[in-house]
């Protein structure tokens, strides 16, 4: 009797192990559906041959531990040094296109999934769109922030980036990891906002891209990610009255709005060159940030939606409100 019970018991344990263990944890999650801009994307199984376009999206994918599922990446060349990942992971990635790829180049990789965004690789004129890919049996996910380029989306907030992490977690069958990551982000943001509570006046902050020459700089209106980062770090984006993301502004306006801090893009053109120009241009001499040499360099992945945004907010906050971070 006892050994019969034992046998049943071990069978039940085995069944329980199979039901709740790793095998069905992947199988019974599928098919999954995620929001893909205004569409719903359905995945019958996790992608095995994913391609990822651009640095910020690759960063998120690597932080989710999905490098083994990535067959090739595009538009990373020259910015490998800014990726946060073990060196062998970055060098192990094959770049099939140094720029945003053509549809032919995408199909040439024989992928089953592509992660990109509108104006971050997806482009109706070149024919690389989620719908075109679907016609060839390739699934895709669109960077949520970029949905604004083709239609309405919710106002910019960290939730927009969290949505990407959770969607990728569902698509690749790594939900627990994605949820844990997002939870840690939420916790850190809560801690930060408590630390900044009552810090009084928000310093004026400007984002400065393409600032290495006298031609009009690229800044961020209220709907841009850099504006959000500045806001969450306890700053005030000087171009918040522009209801747009990246916009060209005039140097005159920069002088007029007198930012106290300048967030400088550190991308293909290094931050040092932007800063050198800002310090050299006589018309900027009286801008507070320039006079006080208050510059904060942010890489492409840090200022575009990615899993590196939270640490960037923390870093900017330490610059803007050092008094709140004394131990």
């Amino acid at each position: 009797m006892n050994h019969v019970f034992k046998r049943w018991f071990s069978a039940a344990v085995a069944a329980g192990w199979v039901c709740c263990g790793w095998v069905p944890a992947m199988a019974h999650d599928f098919p999954v559906e995620v929001r893909n801009c205004s569409d719903t994307a359905r995945f019958e199984s996790p992608p095995q041959r994913a391609i990822v376009n651009d640095v910020n999206m690759l960063q998120t994918v690597l932080d989710l531990g999905l490098a083994p599922r990535v067959v090739a990446v595009s538009a990373i060349r020259g910015r490998e040094h800014s990726m946060v990942a073990p060196a062998d992971v970055v060098t192990g990635l094959r770049q099939f296109s140094p720029h945003y790829p053509s549809l032919e180049a995408v199909l040439g990789e024989n992928p089953d999934f592509m992660f990109a965004g509108w104006n971050y690789g997806f482009d109706a004129a070149r024919g690389v769109t989620p719908r075109a890919l679907a016609q060839f049996g390739i699934g895709s996910y669109t960077l949520r922030e970029s949905c604004i380029r083709i239609g309405p989306r919710e106002p910019m907030s960290m939730e927009v980036m969290y949505a990407d992490v959770l969607a990728l977690g569902a698509i690749f069958g790594v939900r627990p990891k994605a949820e844990a990551l997002v939870q840690s982000f939420r916790d850190r943001m809560t801690v930060l906002s408590r630390q900044l509570e009552g810090s009084g006046k928000r310093p004026r902050v400007m984002y400065c891209g393409d600032c290495s020459s006298t031609s009009a700089p690229l800044s961020s209106g209220k709907q841009g990610m850099p504006a959000l980062l500045a806001h969450l770090a306890g700053g005030l984006n000087v171009f918040d009255d522009i209801q747009n993301s990246y916009v060209r502004v005039s140097w005159e306006e920069v002088v007029q709005r007198d930012p106290e801090w300048i967030i400088v893009s550190d991308d293909r053109i290094p931050a040092s060159r932007h800063i050198a120009h800002l310090l050299r241009d006589p018309q900027l001499r009286d801008v507070t940030a320039v006079r006080e040499r208050r510059f904060i360099a942010v890489s492409y992945a840090q200022r575009s939606p990615s899993t590196r945004n939270v640490e960037t907010v923390e870093r900017i906050a330490r610059h803007l409100h050092p008094e709140r971070f004394v131990p």
């Binding site: 296109s97 482009d123 060839f136 049996g137 747009n244």
Partner: protein
């Protein structure tokens, strides 16, 4: 130099066309072995069921992207060169090209509107459809604005077309400026022209319109010849120049619209190819048009191969290569001739 006879030129051009079409399917930004390319094409054409030795991606590239792309390039080249040849006679202006009447600006406005405002709902059919509608609207505006009680002279037609082109361009540029972060790059890429959106299901419109149009113009070539001598000379041989001009305006506009709708505004072909063809055949449209059509097809398919291979893995915008190759070729050709 004695003009070579059509019985030599036409077979020569047909062979060249077959040659560049094969190259266009075999070569692209992705390298696929010739064995696989031949296998994919034969299995698609003859529905053979042998187990494939190529990947699904390779099949998609060769059959779903490159094959329709090669055919679209041929149709566009033939269309643009034929239209250019006819318009140069129609307006008695050696600088006339298919974009003279603002048709391409209308198409660009249609396409850019879709790119900027339809977003994800943009299907590969919606883009050419919107561009074609834009082209038709531009044509209608030019048509009605250029009418006058005394009939439509070619100067009137050209000037109205230029005004409409500037007007529509201004609207397009404003849309792009106003939505800088919403696909302006895409809009500009489209305006430069290219074949990267060619698919089987977008082929019917341009191919049918272009073949019909080229056929129509060939049949009318003898009558159009009369216009080259001026309105009075045309009347003296029983051709009503005003009616003929409007007929040709409508036919070439429809062809331009269908071409621009499927591949954007590709410059230079419609301007230069007719002159090259004229150097070979002389001004008689009955000889000129078939040579211009085939020459345009060979040229564009060939240039598209170069554009895809010259800066791997990037595609150079087609307009850049057509202008470079076409310009150098034309300058060399001019140096070789005293007259003109």
């Amino acid at each position: 130099m004695k003009a070579p006879s059509l019985s030599i030129l036409i077979p020569l051009l047909l062979c060249s066309l077959a040659g560049v079409l094969v190259l266009s399917v075999a070569l692209g930004t992705v390298t696929i072995s010739p064995h696989s390319v031949v296998g994919i094409v034969t299995s698609e054409l003859f529905n053979s069921a042998s187990p494939p030795s190529w990947t699904r991606g390779e099949r998609h590239i060769v059959w779903e992207l490159r094959a329709p792309r090669a055919l679209l390039a041929a149709a566009a080249g033939a269309s643009l060169a034929t239209i250019g040849a006819v318009l140069q006679v129609l307006t008695r202006n050696p600088l006339a090209d298919p974009y003279l009447f603002g048709i391409s600006s209308g198409a660009a406005l249609g396409a850019v509107t879709v790119i900027l405002y339809a977003g994800a709902k943009t299907t590969s059919v919606a883009l050419p459809a919107a561009a074609f509608i834009g082209a038709l609207l531009a044509m209608a505006v030019v048509f009605f604005a250029s009418r006058s009680p005394s009939g439509t002279s070619s100067e009137r037609l050209i000037l109205t077309g230029v005004a409409v082109a500037f007007l529509l361009q201004a609207v397009t540029n404003f849309l792009i400026f106003n939505t800088l972060d919403r696909g302006a790059d895409a809009a500009i890429f489209w305006m430069l022209g290219g074949f990267s959106n060619a698919r089987w299901h977008v082929l019917p419109l341009p191919v049918v319109v272009v073949l019909t149009g080229v056929g129509w113009l060939l049949l009318r070539a003898r009558v159009i010849n009369a216009l080259a001598l001026g309105d009075d000379a045309a009347r003296s041989v029983g051709v009503d120049p005003f009616a003929l001009r409007l007929e040709l305006f409508v036919v070439t506009s429809l062809m331009t619209g269908a071409t621009v709708a499927s591949c954007g505004a590709i410059g230079f072909v419609g301007l230069i190819l007719p002159h090259v063809a004229r150097m070979l055949t002389g001004g008689d449209l009955r000889r000129l048009l078939p040579v211009a059509a085939l020459g345009g097809a060979v040229f564009l398919v060939g240039v598209d191969v170069v554009a895809r291979r010259v800066m791997l893995p990037r595609e150079v915008p087609l307009g850049v290569v057509t202008a470079l190759i076409g310009g150098v070729f034309f300058l060399l050709l001019m140096r070789g001739r005293r007259s003109l």
